[in-house]
Symmetry: C2
Subunit: 160 residues, 2 copies
């Protein structure tokens, strides 16, 4: 399996979500390396207009782009991305080393989303759902899917 | 908003998922009534064959069908269902009372899924994702989406 880096804008305030992520990340580390990069979320003014949100996303986007490890395969999580099954995601990640990538970086934006320049700089845009989730819950879902991807490759029986 | 009943096969072993569900359900109760019906999951033998899984799903399915409140709008969660946005789900639930339904029941199967007879007895089959999630995580996702549906209708600003 390729190694994982997760770039996440914001922090996980809810203990239950933090504990869920910690549990899955502990399990993932039985299969590969995992690194977390947390980027500070900028607080928008109350009832921000479109230009204010864009300015915040652009500033967060600069920090994201400068945090991406060199040579990593870059995956942005965004609702308009491509939908794949858990098996297809596992296969994609398993095949990355054969394509010259030893690391996959997953990018989860802030509660306002991700700047277009980050999405277009990525190799793959991944959509989990047509539904909107809080980005903290999205981080739980991602960690579970990465653990699942590892178990699918290793055929441990977790995924059935 | 319509009232919610959630029928769930199994129990939530992980404290972090139980706490997440409890938090969202507490918030939902600020908007409407919510009732939980937990159905005992049948333990399959080790490495069950297809017939053994079908027998278990059928037995669980009988209990599910007899637990559905009379006159409720029935929604089965299954990967092959219809995908909707959070806004569309909210609109669907908001409109149910105008169609004569005061209650929506959501059905989450066991780790092996849901019997076909349950799916075909439902009014709507809802797919959150092409990805496979543990059913415990699916219950967290559902509770968050139901809370989100309430806030979309009430325009509280949670959903943005």
């Amino acid at each position: 399996m390729v190694n994982f880096t997760i770039i996440y804008v914001g922090n996980i305030k809810d203990k239950f979500f933090a504990d869920a992520v910690a549990e899955y990340e502990k399990r993932i580390k039985g299969f590969c390396k995992l690194k977390n990069i947390e980027i500070k979320e900028k607080r928008p003014p109350d009832e921000p207009n479109e230009a204010q949100i864009k300015a915040i996303l652009d500033a967060e986007g600069e920090k994201i782009l400068s945090s991406i490890p060199q040579g990593a395969y870059k995956i942005a999580l965004c609702v308009e991305g491509k939908k794949v099954t858990s098996e297809a995601l596992s296969k994609m990640l398993t095949e990355l080393p054969h394509k010259g990538f030893s690391e996959a970086v997953f990018i989860i934006g802030s509660s306002h989303g991700l700047a277009d320049k980050v999405k277009s700089a990525c190799d793959f845009r991944l959509s989990v759902s047509d539904m909107t989730f809080p980005h903290r819950l999205m981080r739980v879902i991602l960690s579970e899917q990465l653990y699942r991807a590892c178990t699918i490759e290793a055929q441990t029986g977790y995924h059935k």
